[in-house]
């Protein structure tokens, strides 16, 4: 026996003795379940974060579109020319039309006043609405200067907003209906 090996053998024996009696066993099914659950939670958290990020981006995009629609004149569908229509200063805050009303009227103003082709039934339907809005506007002038009750003025103003909203719906539907595929 080589004498030099003795110290190594004793050191090796010491290391071996310090080892645990058995190596850590592979984790059991219960631990597998726990780890799988933990992993799922982690992945869920990442997915939730991704969804949150997507929602935030969508919200910002919608906000940008909204600001653009409310803040600047825009071009109507099918490349129709844009028209600038200003707001209605001078109204009491309560009587002021909603911001979307300005957008709606901008879009209406951007439509051609006289389409190249007029379908009589369609045009008559639109004219009926337009005349009614004009009637309400003239009534607002006439009753406003006669010192009419504020509730009546407010009701007329709301009626005007409703009619303008309908006019937008109708003209948009007609635009879609007349669009070539």
């Amino acid at each position: 026996m080589h004498p030099d090996l003795d110290p190594q053998r004793s050191g090796l024996a010491r290391l071996l003795r310090e080892l645990p009696e058995s190596a850590a066993a592979p984790y059991g099914y219960r631990e597998f379940e726990q780890r799988a659950l933990a992993r799922a939670h982690q992945e869920h958290g990442h997915a939730g974060g991704r969804r949150l990020a997507v929602a935030a981006v969508l919200f910002l995009a919608a906000l940008a579109v909204l600001l653009r629609l409310n803040g600047t004149p825009h071009t109507a569908p099918h490349g129709l020319g844009a028209a600038e229509v200003r707001g209605a200063p001078g109204l009491d805050p309560e009587d002021a039309p909603a911001p979307s009303a300005g957008t709606a009227e901008r879009w209406l103003a951007s439509l051609p006043s006289e389409p190249a082709m007029v379908r009589v039934g369609t045009r008559a339907a639109v004219m009926g609405l337009e005349d009614r809005i004009a009637q309400v506007d003239d009534l607002l002038t006439a009753t406003g200067d006669a010192g009419s009750a504020p509730e009546r003025l407010r009701a007329l103003q709301q009626e005007r907003s409703r009619l303008v909203g309908t006019l937008v719906q109708v003209r948009y539907a007609q635009t879609l209906a007349n669009a070539s595929p």
Partner: protein, 321 residues
């Protein structure tokens, strides 16, 4: 001790096997459900069929929009019938007015979309300073303008002078018949309160008629430099019009556009006689015709401005919806 790892391995393998079996449970053919018969896929529609369906859907969309317009207009009847007696009959110009800050006239607060003022080019913030030569310099210029409108007949062009950013501009605003001014003969004393879309335009026979405003270049093909081209005449011969006719005048009133022709026609009552001056195949003709009947159950509402009461006249016709 020496068997422990082996049992551990076997146990783990058994559990793993159970897990795999349970996960693959759906694939284990324990009791296979009866296989439903595979539906025979319908043959794909042709391009022509799709196009036909699309056109039908677009037509439905348009008709629905027209119905929405009609019903929405009717919805405001009640409110307006309450306010109308306070104002009385007058023509419509389609603006909301208020006193200008410096008492120079009537400031335009709102312009009605598609209204007479909008068509003439008047805008929000314009200050109306004169109408038909009468200056609006009184204590209450909007009231002054309303008073002027009470004496104006429908379709009368009004000379309106405005200040736009301090600069004077002149416009021609054609007043429309408003409450109290529509009706047979367009009599100023007639008590019809709320003009309503005639049924004959909502349904047949005039609904599908198509008109185009003639341009000089287009008019050269039809022998006229003005008028309204009938692109599609009513299918059942209503008004005796034919495709390609050019309407020059309706009872002497010259339509300036398809919309204007529609407006003139809509001012007639069912059964009224009307003379159409037309060009057909380069020859001028006068057509004596009758405004078609409306559908049954069509109601025309009347209002007495004095009493604020309303009566209903039901006009029966032979038109089908």
């Amino acid at each position: 001790m020496s068997k422990s790892p082996w049992f551990g391995f076997c146990g783990t393998a058994a559990i793993a096997g159970l897990v795999l079996v349970s996960l693959a449970g759906a694939a284990v053919p324990v009791a296979a459900p009866p296989v439903p018969p595979v539906p025979v896929a319908p043959s794909a529609p042709t391009q022509a069929e799709i196009d036909k369906r699309l056109q039908a859907a677009q037509k439905q969309l348009e008709q629905a929009a027209n119905e929405v317009a009609r019903l929405s207009t009717q919805l405001s009847d009640t409110m307006l019938s309450e306010v109308m007696p306070l104002v009385g009959p007058h023509v419509i110009i389609g603006v909301q007015l208020e006193k200008a800050a410096d008492h120079t006239g009537a400031r335009v607060r709102e312009v009605s979309p598609g209204g007479p003022a909008a068509e003439a080019g008047i805008r929000v913030d314009d200050v109306i300073v004169a109408v038909n030569g009468t200056e609006l310099k009184g204590e209450n210029p909007p009231h002054q303008l309303s008073s002027i409108l009470h004496g104006v007949k429908p379709d009368t062009p009004l000379s309106v002078r405005v200040l736009r950013q301090g600069k004077p501009l002149d416009f021609k605003v054609t007043a429309r018949g408003g409450p109290g001014l529509f009706g047979p003969g367009h009599d100023m004393d007639f008590n019809v309160a709320l003009p309503e879309l005639p049924e004959m335009f909502v349904n047949r026979p005039l609904r599908d008629m198509e008109l185009a405003t003639l341009t000089p270049r287009l008019g050269s093909y039809f022998g006229s430099d003005k008028g309204v081209l009938v692109v599609r005449a009513p299918a059942d011969g209503t008004l005796r019009l034919e495709d390609g006719d050019v309407i020059l005048a309706i009872d002497g009133r010259e339509p300036k556009s398809g919309s204007h022709a529609t407006r003139i026609l809509s001012s007639y009552q069912s059964g009224e006689r009307v003379t159409l001056r037309i060009i057909r195949q380069h020859k001028a003709l006068d057509l004596e015709t009758t405004i078609p009947e409306r559908s049954a159950r069509h109601e025309t509402r009347y209002l007495s401005p004095e009493a604020g009461t309303r009566a209903t006249q039901v006009v029966f016709g032979n038109d089908e919806a």
